[in-house]
């Protein structure tokens, strides 16, 4: 199965990757190359209509966030009127406090941070190791192993929840954060992503020079590969963090309200553990905010990462 590679800007084939190795060798090279200035349809300046349409669409995309904020800060009775109020009311902190108290939102935030943090670090490290091996080293079984990786990239992990559940229960891990972390320590997508990134960003000449210097393989990895891989790892890290933070199916099965991640807490909020809509929205807001902040701050890089990866995690 080679489908996933199709949309990646740098084709999976070696030639494609080599050809893409342009003069822009440095940081975020792959990402910049994904948005070249001198290719594509000659760019006309956008007309008024374009701005209006895009403005309306952006508004529609952002409106639910506004609704979340307003509904989290007013009694439900006020939201039941039409047209609903557009500005936040006075109850935001009270509702957030209630959500934190009733659904362990504070604990959930901490848990999500731990879980997403570990998953991000381990994915970035292990997938870079494997991606480097697949991109630059020749060894027996490489193509087969990479084929397996690619082939399973598209298999949704939610199909494995029954055995995962029984394995975790046998290990006595069901309900613990480890049960969420372990299956997500690595991702096939990450290997694919880092392989694409390194095949174009890491010049063979550098590896050759390291070899001439007599560096060991691990030393080469540490001092030559890692520094160059770092921008790619950062993008992979951000995507992984977001995916891990938002992971729903498996955590909902293995965790429960006594030790939840944010998504599990939100699921409980929406499943009648808390009957007050304003409190539900307050919890939703608190659980969404961290990712949104990361996203607004690092939006540029994440957009670039998605474009260069072009694969749904």
């Amino acid at each position: 199965m080679s489908a996933p590679a199709a949309a990646a800007p740098a084709p999976a084939s070696q030639q494609g990757a080599r050809a893409a190795t342009g003069p822009e060798q440095g940081h975020l090279a792959a990402i910049r190359r994904a948005l070249p200035r001198h290719r594509g349809r000659p760019q006309d300046a956008a007309g008024l209509t374009t701005y209006v349409v895009l403005g309306v669409v952006a508004l529609l995309f952002l409106a639910p966030f506004g609704y979340m904020l307003v509904a989290a800060s007013r009694p439900m009775a006020e939201m039941n009127t039409f047209p609903p109020p557009l500005l936040p009311g006075p109850d935001l902190w009270k509702n957030i406090a209630t959500a934190v108290r009733q659904q362990n939102i504070g604990l959930a935030l901490g848990n999500s941070l731990i879980v997403s943090g570990i998953i991000t670090a381990s994915t970035a490290l292990f997938c870079t190791l494997a991606g480097y091996a697949f991109a630059k080293l020749r060894f027996r079984g490489r193509d087969l192993l990479f084929g397996v990786t690619l082939g399973t990239m598209m298999i949704p992990p939610s199909l494995s929840v029954v055995p995962l559940y029984s394995i975790m229960a046998d290990l006595g891990l069901a309900g613990s954060l480890s049960s969420v972390v372990l299956p997500s320590l690595v991702a096939a997508f990450g290997v694919f992503f880092m392989r694409q990134y390194l095949s174009s960003a890491l010049p063979d000449e550098l590896l050759e020079a390291a070899r001439m210097d007599g560096a060991t393989a691990l030393r080469t990895f540490w001092s030559v590969v890692l520094p160059i891989a770092r921008p790619g790892m950062a993008v992979l890290g951000m995507l992984t963090f977001m995916t891990a933070w938002n992971d729903f199916f498996w955590p909902v099965i293995t965790l429960n309200s006594t030790n939840p991640t944010v998504q599990v807490a939100l699921n409980n909020l929406g499943s009648g553990y808390v009957p007050d809509t304003a409190v539900i929205m307050a919890g939703t807001l608190v659980g969404t905010l961290p990712v949104l902040v990361v996203f607004v701050v690092l939006g540029r890089q994440i957009v670039g990462g998605i474009i260069s990866g072009a694969v749904k995690g």
């Binding site: 570990i118 309900g175 613990s176 691990l218 030393r219 499943s271 009648g272 553990y273 809509t277």
Partner: protein, 436 residues
């Protein structure tokens, strides 16, 4: 690993290994962090319930903590029992997240005594053993296994009446006085005939009854034999009483007499207690507290209570408190549930919330209770009478499954226009799927 060090700092490989090791360590750390800490200092008792048991609302948890300085109670509640129970099953199976005290609905108690006796604590071996007596006839036997193990202490029972909105009924020209209203509904058919009258003159957007599912549960609540017969056979399919209740409720849904709101799930149902999208609702005693919670202070004096059609006695719901076998604090938990289910506390819960007591001592105490929130309705009298005249129901392990399937099927008649016959069939398939 010694090698020429021309390229960069020393010990880089070691560092890489250290990172990997650190991750592994962190993992192990958070694995162990999830296991319960050894008990030192105050005992933390986790209580996990569904719906409104009334302990938090009446401050009983706080009172217990004050009397027992060594105990701290953490409490969570799921609104719908349909969601509470499967989640509890998952927790029991994986042994994680089970509280020290769990609520069990009466429709599940037979499942517990028949299939799960190994997962729950026999209260005869705990400080709660002295509290097992004192209940009305059927309550504790239902929580007792064949071998005599008592797995739960009764909290409330569900004698049932009809709650209604006098203001809305007045607008439609119907009687607003409980006795006058009761006189006009000697049977369920008469109740629905009133509904037709209501519909003709009702304010816009207001239906006679809240849901077909609620109506159905109220009708079957007056039966002795519901889903099981005396020999323990599952007979919902051939029991004419069940089918007739189903058809009556489905008919009401088809005629537009219900607000088509799913109980405990649809946010619109909660809103309906204050907004008036329905004028009547079948009212087991525990619904009293639910209405108060949802309609809030503004809803005071908006609701009243009368008897079931024909003054019939019925029982819908009621619950037990039980201690999972995995609890680390069985003795403390047993003391807590013995206290919570003692007559004084049962009476307090009834007075302030409405859940009707299951101990004879408490029932005697609440005979004369009236509820100012409900226009001073004599709820003590209404529910006592209902409890006295209610038949002793035969319970079975799949009661909860069947009940939930029936309710869902009726919702499909109301909202998706499914024919009652199709919906009945679909419910049957669902049940056999789940029981098999």
């Amino acid at each position: 690993m010694s090698s020429p060090r021309k390229l960069s700092q020393p010990r880089t490989t070691t560092a890489a290994i250290a990172v990997a090791a650190a991750i592994t360590l962190t993992l192990t750390a958070c694995g162990s962090g999830a296991t319960p800490a050894a008990s030192s200092g105050p005992v933390e008792l986790k209580v996990s319930l569904f719906g409104t048991f009334g302990y938090d609302e009446t401050g009983l948890f706080k009172a217990y903590e004050a009397q027992n300085p060594g105990v701290k109670i953490t409490y969570e509640s799921t609104q719908g029992e349909d969601k509470y129970w499967p989640a509890l099953q998952t927790r029991l199976a994986s042994g994680s997240g089970v509280a020290d005290v769990q609520g069990i609905e009466v429709a599940r108690i037979s499942d517990v005594t028949t299939n799960q006796s190994d997962k729950w604590t026999d209260l005869r071996d705990t400080p709660a053993k002295d509290s097992i007596g004192g209940y009305i006839g059927w309550k504790e036997p239902a929580a007792t296994t064949k071998d005599g193990a008592v797995l739960g202490l009764g909290t409330d029972i569900g004698p049932t009446g009809i709650c209604y909105r006098p203001d809305l009924l007045a607008k439609a020209g119907l009687p607003t006085d409980p006795a006058a209203l009761a006189a006009q509904m000697p049977t369920w058919d008469a109740f629905l005939a009133l509904g037709e009258k209501y519909k003709a003159n009702a304010p816009a957007g207001s239906a006679w009854h809240d849901s077909a599912g609620g109506l159905y549960n109220a009708i079957v609540s007056t039966q002795k034999e519901i889903y099981y017969d005396g020999s323990g056979k599952l007979v919902y399919n051939s029991n004419p009483a069940v089918r007739s209740a189903f058809d009556t409720a489905a008919g009401a849904g088809q005629k537009g007499l219900t607000a088509k709101l799913e109980q405990f799930v649809d946010p619109g149902w909660d809103q309906g207690f204050s907004s008036g999208s329905f004028a009547t609702i079948a009212c087991p005693s525990w619904m009293i507290g639910y209405i108060k919670g949802k309609a809030g202070d503004a809803g005071a004096n908006k609701w009243n209570v009368t008897t079931l059609p024909g003054g019939a006695g019925g029982n819908w719901g009621g619950a037990y408190l039980a201690i999972p076998a995995s609890s680390q604090h069985k003795d403390e938990a047993a003391k807590l549930i013995a206290w919570l289910t003692a007559p004084e506390q049962q009476a307090t819960v009834f007075d302030k919330v409405g859940n009707f007591p299951s101990t004879t001592g408490a029932i005697a105490k609440v005979e004369g209770t009236t509820d100012p929130y409900f226009n001073n309705a004599p709820i003590g009298k209404i529910f006592s009478r209902s409890a006295e005249t209610s038949p002793v129901q035969i319970l079975g392990p799949e009661d909860g499954v069947v009940k939930s399937a029936m309710t869902q099927a009726l919702l499909s008649v109301e909202t998706s226009g499914a024919s009652p016959a199709d919906a009945w069939k679909a419910a049957g398939t669902k049940i056999s799927n789940q029981v098999g």
